[in-house]
Symmetry: C2
Subunit: 217 residues, 2 copies
């Protein structure tokens, strides 16, 4: 049973033109904003101080779509056995554990093999060296390629008819000609609706941040 | 009506274990080898001489899977308004028209916008500067991102139940979680069976040259 409040929300989110028909599932008509994640690093306060100096606090540069998250002014250089990537953005606020998220293309450039993982799943992940303005930090098993996923609130999950941990299919659009499968749904009160992919995936699909994708059967 | 010779070929190409059932379409059981195309350039003889010297002939380094095609010893540097990519491989033999094929990631690095196109479709494509050991060539409307496609012989086309120009769906595999849609079939007597994608697409799907993909409904 769909409540009146939910139905009102549904009406508001439906496309302006009546493309939705009874044959089409509701969830496939709700646009999910795309967030392309360039390579970035989340840092523990200990590592922030090792990289930028004792007592250092990250300086917010730009708010992200996920509430409370921000791109910081600070960047680090990342070094691997085969190469260096400069100016990798730090995201804040500080987290309990440092985590570097890069693309497969970055793995080749650095000469490391980072596994495709959900955020936080760092067991036997890859290594790299971070270099800041004050010092450096050797990351041991803290480097992953982030698995594509959709952030959403419990309300959005109800609207889309999915649950936390479910794997769904995402159509990047007719023109792109790409369907992402096994996209993990992550539901939390704090989350804004957003489909997170990396730069390799965005390039392959020919899509950009701010555009929308749709769930598909 | 399938001839006995064709049925023999089909039998040989089927997986060793009897995973094929009457419910499954034959075409989805035939592995199509993946060929990941790194950035590369095809050159006209005029441009070869402008880049490497009068009367210069490309020196084959390695045969490609497509009969008669080879990676040459020669490389060029590619320059755009925002950057340079060094050591871009030249493929031979010489062609009537020069064509530079790069990825979307390369477009960002160079600062150009190359359209996604089929090989040879250069109308209003992008520009770049090629620099060789002897001289340089300014490419005007000769730079594209190659549209993903499958090369195949007429025999393979019959086996797979597709025709030249048809757009098909390719499943990159359960683990990869990616379906490529609108993949163009290109049939020619000279072609070896091969699914051509660029490095962005290979990274997004987590697949490599030499592995196989399958057609899907």
């Amino acid at each position: 049973m769909i409540s009146e409040a939910l139905m009102n929300q549904i009406q508001q989110r439906l496309p302006a033109s009546p493309v939705w028909s009874a044959q089409q599932s509701l969830s496939s008509t709700i646009g999910i904003p795309i967030g392309v994640s360039n390579r970035h690093v989340h840092l523990s306060q200990t590592d922030i101080e090792a990289l930028f100096g004792k007592g250092y606090q990250l300086k917010p540069l730009k708010e992200l779509r996920q509430p409370g998250q921000f791109a910081a002014h600070e960047c680090v250089n990342v070094v691997g056995p085969k190469g260096l990537i400069s100016k990798v953005r730090v995201l804040g606020p500080a987290r309990p554990e440092t985590q570097l998220e890069i693309s497969k293309a970055d793995c080749y450039a650095l000469g490391i093999k980072a596994p495709v993982r959900e955020s936080g799943d760092l067991y036997q992940s890859a290594d790299a060296l971070l270099v800041g303005t004050f010092g450096h930090v050797s990351l041991q098993s803290k480097v992953i390629c982030a698995q594509r996923h959709i952030h959403m609130s419990p309300f959005d999950a109800e609207l889309l008819g999915v649950v936390h941990g479910q794997k769904v299919r995402v159509n990047a659009g007719e023109q792109c000609g790409l369907v992402f499968e096994q996209v993990v749904v992550r539901v939390d009160e704090r989350y804004a609706l957003e489909f997170h992919i990396d730069t390799d995936e965005a390039n392959a699909a020919g899509i950009r941040s701010g555009e929308s994708v749709y769930l598909t059967d």
